[in-house]
Symmetry: C2
Subunit: 242 residues, 2 copies
DNA sequence: CTTCGAAACTGATCTCCCTCAGCACAGGAT
DNA sequence: ATCCTGTGCTGAGGGAGATCAGTTTCGAAG
């Protein structure tokens, strides 16, 4: 058995994929591109922008307000789509920053539609992945609107854990995490100062440690209870269509 | 010339539609359903949920946290999709409340895919509409995360204005709006008390009045400047593909 | 080995917004 | 006619988190 791509692993969580379908999936991958950490991936503001599938590395999409503050909307990890939402837009509506060095495969809209036509189960799986991405943005919005700083932070780190587990990059004990406290602050709608205090509290409560690029979860169950994490919205409890 | 449906009007803002395409659009509309104000539209948590296109009335989708607070994620107005995101989900991840009496047409996923295959331009337009919905959620998230109460509130009411104008239900002078201050509070991540104060401030600054189901914009330009409203993210500045 | 800069961390102060508690008003129900 | 509930509105007090102004740590570059 060959190692699956993160993307294939992820889709497999929703639809059990046959060898033929896995092969069809491979044809989606276009040109491989790599991007450097810190340098924004810029879109030229033209039609026919292309989307990517992340092979390795972490990325975030964000918006900057006129005041200069920034809000990170979502993080992409291996197996995730990149820029799918705005393929059809005339003007890019957000920026994209690679957090680490990134490898990604270009995906052409035409190829996507082609695969959809030929393998409907794959179409379902891909659309599921897109819906799931949107569900995460929604949950993020709810967190910022209604959860306090500690719940919000822990909730976010738990979501990340769940997502990474899906592609084999985390266990309930923790995971490697290249984010800085500034990234967290920009994502959570908090100041970096306050994120720091919240992380200290989580550490002192022996729930979770965020340090040196490593998230260590000391008590998974207690953490989940403490912040009322309900992963239903991720809809990833084992493949449904077999 | 027959009056277009709100949905057709909206798509027309992105792709100029031919008579043939308008006819194809009509075939999308399935069974007509109506819902009563206040009574949640409940999904049975089953696969093959259906989506709707709103013909008349206002709706909101929201989530309730264990603590009992609620966060409204988005409002749907005539011409908008309803429940498209979660068609593929096993468990409904949010609730839907009709704010007024609502008329909506059921849309079957199969019909949608069928139309996509036959009229690619229509497919593009529909996918554009879906992307635009997501872009609005993203902008909503950014607002909650980084804008203060006044900017956030005014920004939201301006977005609503722009959306309603697209389906002919608003001008730059204002629009009819069935939302209560509680709706605003739940959507903006504020308390109803504070929403009330913010609305007073907007009124006293002669920018905008929110009263008796009517939003009156006193000075459109000044309001836009004041809260730095940039509608690029709505991507609706005239049809692109002709 | 030293310098530099980014990231982590801390204390003091301030402020925006929440919570609580209450009043006013309108429309529907009895 | 009056009750009652939902909505709008207001004041007082408190708190979560922002801002300001640092120090410390550590790895990378010189």
């Amino acid at each position: 058995m060959i190692a699956l791509s993160p993307f294939a692993r992820k889709l497999g969580a929703f639809v059990a994929l046959s060898d033929a379908e896995l092969a069809a999936l491979d044809q989606l991958y276009g040109r491989r591109k790599s991007f450097l950490a810190g340098r924004d991936i810029v879109y030229q503001g033209q039609i026919k922008q292309s989307a990517y599938i992340l092979a390795s590395g972490w990325v975030c999409s964000y918006k900057i307000l006129p005041s200069g503050t920034r809000q990170i909307v979502e993080f992409q990890i291996p197996g995730d789509f990149l820029g799918l939402r705005s393929v059809l837009f005339r003007t890019p509506d957000h920026n994209i920053e690679p957090i680490t060095r990134v490898e990604a495969s270009e995906v052409l809209a035409s190829d996507l539609l082609d695969v959809f036509g030929r393998t409907p189960r794959l179409a379902t799986a891909v659309l599921w992945a897109a819906s799931r991405d949107e569900a995460m943005v929604v949950e993020h919005l709810v967190g910022i609107g209604r959860r306090d700083a500690l719940e919000r932070t822990a909730h976010f780190l738990l979501e990340l854990c769940t997502r990474l587990m899906l592609v084999g990059m985390a266990t309930t004990d923790g995971y490697a995490c290249p984010l800085s406290q500034y990234h967290l602050a920009d994502a959570l709608g908090l100041s970096a100062v306050h994120v720091n205090r919240v992380l200290r509290e989580l550490r002192e409560d022996a729930l979770l440690t965020f340090q040196k690029g490593q998230v260590t979860i000391h008590d998974f169950k207690r953490l989940i209870d403490r912040v009322e994490f309900d992963r239903t919205y991720l809809d990833q409890d084992g493949p449904l269509l077999r």
